[in-house]
Structures are given as C-alpha cells and as structure tokens.
Symmetry: C2
Subunit: 530 residues, 2 copies
C-alpha cells in the first residue's frame, strides 16, 4: 500500500507549509476519498522555482544518454506502481480500467520514445559551417549551431489525461528530454494519482543521480499557485492542456511579465468532420457508426472529440442522417471527470437545446445513474452556424452538431469561416478527395492534422504527429504537444563562433563522437569534420 | 534614371490615396532631397492585407523551385539597379559606398541562399510514419508531417541595414521562402532606397508570375501604419529589426489581438566582451586594436556592436587599459543614419558622462563636420554596473563601457546578472577557456551566439548562424533573424493522416520526387517509401 502524505514535492524534499487543503473525490459520485492535500504556499512556489533554476545548471550538462536513463527510470517506476495506480486513477477520474491501463502504457511509451530520441541524438539539429581563413574579402568564421534547453518549465496536469498529459505526461517527458527541469502544478481532480506519479519521478531522479530540483510538484488552484508559477522569474516556459479560459489567462500573464515567456496551451477545439458525396453514398453505415463512437468515446472527453459534422444535401443524405440518428441513439453516456466538467457540459447542451436555430437530432441512451453526461447530437443549418459565433465554441463532452449544407459552396464557406482547430477530418473516396482539393487547401490552413477516412480521436505518438493548430486551438500554432517534435517547445538554438573543438558540446565536436546526423556546410552527413 | 513616384506599392498596383507626406533627407546634413512619399491611408493598409491574403492561396502552392526562381529574380533586379541604388542609399543613410556595395552583395547572397535552400528542399523537415494495419491493439495510421507557411508577414525595414534588413532583406527573403506574402512597412529614413528596391521586387514578381499581392510596400509612421498592419486580421506574423521601444510595442499589440500572432523583434543588445587573463597578457595589442575598431565600425550602428568590455585587474591590465585608451583615441566618428539616432546617441552618452560612477576613459577624434557622432569609451566598476540597471541598456552608436573587475568571481557575477543579448565574446587562450568553462556556461544561457577570439560585429549569413538571443535582445529567444534557420519564424508544421500519396504535397509522396531528406519511421533517408 502506497502512503499518501498530501505534501508538495520540492525537489527531493516534501513540504507542507500551508494550512489550506484540497480533497480527493470519487469522480463518479463526488464523494470524498480518504486523502487530503496541502495547497502550496507562495514560499513553497518560490522554493520549487529556486531549486529548478539551480538544478538546471547541472541538468543541462547531462548527456543525452544520462537523460535517457532518467526517462527510462521514470517509466520503470510508473510500471512498478502496478494496479494500485490504476485503481486510484480510475476512482479519481471515473475513467474505466481498460482506458487507464492503456493510458499508463501510452505514458510509459512516451517516456521511452523521448529516451530513444536522446539516445539517437540527432534531434539537436546540429549545423556546422567550417571556417575559411582565405575567403575574400573577409575570412569565413567557423560556426556551430545546436538546440539547448530553455530552462525550468511549468507543466499543468490535464484533467482528461490523468497520466499521459499530467505529472509524467508528454509535456514533462519533452521538457526533461530538452534538458529542462519541470515543476508540475498537479491537477486538483486527481491529486492522489498525481502524488503516486510525482513520487515515482522523484525516486527515478534519485536513483539516476539527477540534481535536486529537476522535478517538483505542487498542489493548489490554477488561479493562485498556477499564476505564481507562471509569473516566477526563474520559469522559462509553460505547457498546459486545458480549457480556453485557463490557457488564455496563462498566456496573457506570460506576455505581461517583465521578461515574457512562451506558453504552449493546447485548448481543444471542435474538430470538424466533412463527409464528401461519394463516400457518404458508399460508406454510410461505417461512417455513421464510426462518428457516433468517436463523439462518445470516453464520454467525449478528448481534445480531438469531433464536435461538428458537415455533409451536402443529396438523394442519399437523408438516409445517412437517419442512420446517424439511429447509431447515436445506441450510444451511452457515463460519469464525467469532475462535477464542474459535467456542469459545464449540461449548461452547454441546455443552451443549444433551447437555441431557436438548433434541433436535437438524437440523444444517447438515458443513464440509470446520476452524475452522468447524456450524449446529444444537434442539428443546424450553415446559415445559423455562420450567424452565431458561440456555436463554434467547444462543448467538452459527448455532444456534436450536424450541418447538412445546400451545396459544395456552402461547405467551403463554412470551412473558410472556421477558426483554428487541432484536427479536421474528411471522409472521401479518391475521386471525392481529388474534386475537393479546394476544401483540403482551406483545412490545411485551419488545423494541425488532417485525417482522411478516419476519426480524430486517437492521437498517434510518433515523430510525425502534429497535435496543435492555429489559435484558438492552441496559444502557439507553431507547436505540437504530442510526438518528438514537441521537444522544440522547450529549446532554442545557440551557436559558437571559432570555439576550439574540444570545448564544444559533444554534438558539435569535429570527431562527431555521438555519431549523429549533422548539416555540415549545407550537407546532411554523419561524417566527422575534416 | 529611375523615376520615383512616392506611392504605396500594393501588389502590382501603385496607390497614393492619402494627403500626408514624408520626405527623403540627406542623412549627413539633414537637408531635404527631391522626393516626397505619400503616407499610407488605412484603406491602403487594408488593400495590401487583403491582396496578401488572396495571394497566399496561390503562393503557398508554388513549388520550391518556383519560389527559388522568384528569389533569384529579385536578386537579379537588385543588381540591375546598379550604381543608382548605391548612390541614393548612401545619400539617405550617410553610410559609405563601400559599405553599401557590400550590403547589396550580402542582400543578393541572402536571396540566393534561400533560393538554394528551396532548390535543395529538405528544409521542410519531412517526417513520415508508415501505417501498420496489423498493429495491436489499434492499427497504426500513416502520418506525414512537414512545415508550411503561416500566411502574410509584415516586415519593418531597419534603419541600420537599408538593404540587408530592409525591403528585400533577410526577413523578406525568409518569409518568401516559407511561402508567405510580405507587406513591408518601409523605413522612413530611406524611402527612396525603399521604393527602388520595392519596385525591383514587384518587377521580379511580375516576371516570374507570382500572384498579385505576394508583395506590397507602404510608407508611414510605425505607430500608425505599422500598428494598423500588426493588428490586421490577415497578418499572421511580424518581423522587425529595431529599437526595444518599437519592438516591444509591436509585441504587446500582437499579444492583445483577438488572434495573437508571433512578433520576431530583434532589438539589439550591448554584446559583452570578456578578456581572459592569459589572452590579455599575450594579445594585448591585437585585442585593443580590434575592440576599438569593432565599437566604431560603421559609426557603431550595428545590433552586435560591443557595448561592454570586461577583464580582471592584474599586473597587465593597466597596460592593456592604456593601450585601449590610445587605440580608441585614434578612432573617428561620422554622421549617423538619422538626426533622431544621433540625438539619442548624444543624450545617452551625455547621461553617462555626468554619471558619478562613470569616467570617460577615451574619446575618438573630434569630427570636423557637424552631425557627427563622437566615439566615447566609458569606464566603471562592477559594483556601479550592478547597482544601476540603466547602464545595461544599449547606447546605439560608437560608445562602449569598460569594467575592470577585482576578481574572476566578479566577472562571473557580472555575467550572471546579464539579461539576454545577441552575442557574447570571449578572448582567451585554450588554457584560459578551459579554466573559464563556468563563464562559458553562463554565457550560453544569456546569448544566441558565443564568439571566441573575434568580435561580434560581422554576422555570417549561413545555415549555422543564430542572430537572436533571450529577451530583451529579441521578443522571441527561440528564433534567429539571420541564416537559413530564420525561415522557421514563418512556418508551422501540419500533418496528414492516411492521405492518399498522390494527394500529398510532393515533399511527402511515397516516391520522394524531390529527392529530399526525410525522417521515415525514425530513420533519416532519401529513399522512397516502400
């Protein structure tokens, strides 16, 4: 049995200087669980930041291999938590065991993916221009370039991914890989899970001889503890997966600091799905079934949950709508992550239900228990949608909206009017896709990921993923929060002019001791510098 | 003789809808030159932005080769302007002919460098993960990733690089290479030069069949026309080389937009130079001579001008100080770019001259003409420097400050207290450098470029350059404004999931028709996808 003390993790120390507390709850019922957690005081915030700044001086000099060993040790410690972690996480989130087990595996795989990136080593984008003393009119200096870590990163745990985007999640793994200490503001909806995982990271840090302060974890309110962290002079970057309100508030605070810092807020979106005519005719049933499942998967609690479905009116479209209605009526809801999230979902769907331009097309099966979100599929017209900005806002949960348009032009017009989203999905045959290149062109400018003949839920963790998109789906549309490219959120390039080879980082030394890919005088190579 | 009409360039059209004007002046004397320029009206600003947004839809689909041809055509048109461009540019900036000719060559080379980057094609960072339908528990999708342009970019011409960082300068070249239309806010200190170059770009765009609106150029005040541009809904990014005041104002405005956008302001810095003990003993004369030359090169009007020199008190240091004093007394000033810049320089140096903790160590030769900046070398202590934040601010021009410290610890303490700078320079023998690793470690966190045994003026345009640095030297310490990596200021990644190969951009198609480097399932290769 793992002991829970409810304290802040400040480097290798535990601290409980405050008197205010927050409480762990069973998500499905709201009942209090046994554990209590101290909220961090401002001096605890300062202590964590000071330790992180000091730790950065040591951690930034660790080799890729040493950082990989640390990430691998975190993965090992996570696995070692066994079923106790799964049980408490299920209790605190109301997510089913099979999902939490899969998420634990994903979290472990993310850590190992970054460990692999570090062991291979080429991610630093090493660039070398060799000098030429004889060049006219001026000698050419020797210049060598690579990415280095920005400094301490504050990570906010996400409610909807209590493992994969929380304490040891993707943001934390990417920041560690970049060479940055991490301070996590634990999510108050799963503090026990947070402490389990936070202590696993601390054990991994101790076992692999990482500096005290490479990791801290604090409990508290986002508006208090979170803001203190974002405003702290030692903090160099912020990552959060959360609501628009939370992400935007952190972004604004970060821009207004004496020294502004980047905030990578992944704030979700409605992830439009388009069904093109031939696909609609041929794949009616698969699409209807797949869409209903995607909307209600995990009680709709995914950033990539599809909140908007568009297709053109045709001979076949009514039949599709009826199929969709039927499929949706077979879906079930379930308890949501927190009472607050359920409340917001109910408020959002109730607002739509009474909107004069919106019909309820279908509802999922009524739940037998209380505290459950009830799936609902709305329907409106392109005209109403275009005239009501508020209909573009995400309702977090198992709700979606169908728009049957009068024409292809109306499809294009809705697409053009979209703001930034994480994903857009298009169902189409090869013929459909070829004749809707204009739609694909528009979508490419609106989203980070275009999904063909699939559904946006399910984000592959790999080198090629973009889980990001133009504002307001994120606060930094140049970034991804999933996949190996997410490491660049926490780095900047530095270059060395005429530095003796022996004093350079190993990545840039003549001999290429790490055997990494480098751009030498414009050519990609693993050769040494001659 | 090239005709000057003083109008806005709005795509392929000229426009002069306004009534307010600005005037070209001879920089050395302030006297009015023949030409007058209309300030852009707000509807002209809107017209340029609308055209840019429309042009983006065509320009973003141009192949790398087509964009390269455009950049090469701009280079050709610039060269074709011949001596007339050089003459007018010298008049408007008071910079000598040899410098402006070198700068024109640099500008041409920058355009050709980006053309080369586009012709080679691998810059898009293509990443491919091939699908695996048999993977358990879920099939692996095919995901393909690459960088694409952000959309219209506003570029502010810099006063101190009237060609290389103005209308057809590095920012413009990088934005075009990224696939982004450019709207230049011409610098009002060299409007005739601006019109020459702007029309050259327009001719190149017409000749190479680029879309109307791929380039526009407007005259006006930064606080009016500039702000209208930065706030325009169609503008997706901003680049400026300028003062802290200008850059910060644009950054703040961009953060406060309904849809915030990135601002890449390169705002200069004092670029500290450190001389380590053995190098000081051995290379006294070279360093003293080199430093005095670097401070006063081009009347000190470089972002990388060294405004701070530090070395430890020793048996040799007084001799070095005397040498430096003598070298500095041989330097000359000259006319500055504008009366405003000269005024700010005189105000800045006058403030130092009466500061009780500061001595004047040496002055350059008195100029015979008026309107000339007079080089001046100040001296203070580490203690005074640490106690007066205002001494860290850049005085733009041929001034610098010497600090002789009592110890190595004091050197490290000054280094630790530095804010972000573009560069830091260290003079040291191999032995010096090895025993000052702690200094190099600190500097790596403070600057974008570390220069060993050289001087920071002179920025090599190449793949490996970082001309950027932590705030306040720039508003985005993750970026460089010189070199090929500067293209990533104007891009974001997008990924395609299960897109048929034929519909993908050429960069991501199975056959690798562009023969570029790609990361396929984690391996760097030029092979096709099997």
């Amino acid at each position: 049995m793992i002991r829970i003390d409810g304290k802040q993790i400040i480097g290798f120390d535990a601290s409980a200087a405050g008197s205010e507390k927050l409480f762990s709850r069973k998500a499905a019922t709201g009942e209090l669980l046994a554990h209590q957690f101290f909220k961090a005081t401002e001096s605890e915030v300062n202590a964590a930041c000071e330790k992180a700044a000091t730790a950065f001086q040591v951690f930034r000099k660790k080799s890729g291999i040493e950082k990989a060993v640390f990430l691998e040790a975190i993965a090992t410690e996570l696995v070692a938590l066994g079923s106790e972690l799964i049980t408490v996480c299920c209790l605190e989130t109301a997510l089913p065991e099979v999902r939490i087990e899969a998420e634990r595996n994903r979290t472990v795989n993310q850590l190992l993916m970054f460990a692999g990136l570090l062991r291979e080593g080429s991610w630093v984008d090493a660039r070398i221009e060799t000098g030429d003393a004889s060049r006219n009119p001026l000698p050419k200096p020797d210049i060598r370039y690579m990415h280095v870590g920005l400094g301490p990163v504050v990570v906010f745990g996400a409610s909807n991914f209590p493992l994969a985007f929380s304490v040891a999640g993707g943001d934390t793994a990417a920041a560690f890989a970049a060479g940055c200490p991490v301070i996590v503001k634990a999510h108050s909806a799963h503090p026990t899970t947070g402490e389990f995982v936070g202590k696993a990271i601390r054990r991994a840090a101790e076992k692999t001889h990482m500096p005290d302060g490479v990791f801290s974890m604090l409990h508290g309110e986002g508006t208090v503890t979170g803001m203190q962290l974002v405003r702290h002079v030692h903090v160099k970057s912020v990552a959060i997966t959360g609501s628009f309100t939370a992400g935007k508030a952190l972004f604004d605070a970060a821009c207004r600091r004496d020294v502004p810092i980047p905030v990578y807020a992944e704030m979700g979106s409605t992830n439009p799905v388009f069904i093109l005519p031939e696909a609609l005719r041929i794949n009616k049933e698969t699409i209807a079934k797949g869409f209903a499942a995607s909307v209600t998967l995990g009680v709709g609690q995914f950033c990539t949950n599809p909140g908007l479905l568009l297709y053109e009116e045709s001979n076949e479209s009514e039949a599709f709508t009826q199929l969709l209605k039927r499929e949706f009526e077979h879906t079930s809801g379930g308890p949501m992550l927190t009472a607050g999230i359920l409340g917001a979902y109910e408020k959002g769907t109730a607002r739509y239900a009474v909107h004069e331009g919106i019909q309820v097309l279908a509802c999922g099966k009524q739940s037998t228990t209380e505290n459950c979100a009830h799936p609902v599929l709305f329907r409106t017209t392109a005209e109403v949608f275009a005239g009501h900005q508020e209909l573009s806002e995400e309702i977090f949960g198992p709700a979606s909206m169908v728009i049957e348009t009068a024409s292809k032009d109306e499809i294009l017009s809705v697409a053009s009017g979209l703001s930034g989203h994480l994903t857009a999905t298009v169902h189409g045959t090869e013929r459909d896709l070829a004749s809707y290149r204009d739609l694909l062109d528009i979508l490419e400018q609106k989203v980070g990921r275009i999904v063909i003949n699939g559904f946006p839920t399910g984000v592959e963790v790999c080198h090629a993923m973009v889980h990001g998109g133009p504002y307001p789906s994120t606060t930094d549309g140049r970034s991804t929060s999933v996949g190996t490219a997410s490491i660049f959120r926490f780095t900047r390039a530095v270059c060395y002019q005429n530095m003796p080879s022996a004093l350079l980082p190993a990545e840039l030394q003549n001999e290429n001791p790490l055997n990494i890919w480098r751009l030498i005088n414009g050519l990609q190579t693993k050769e040494r510098v001659l």
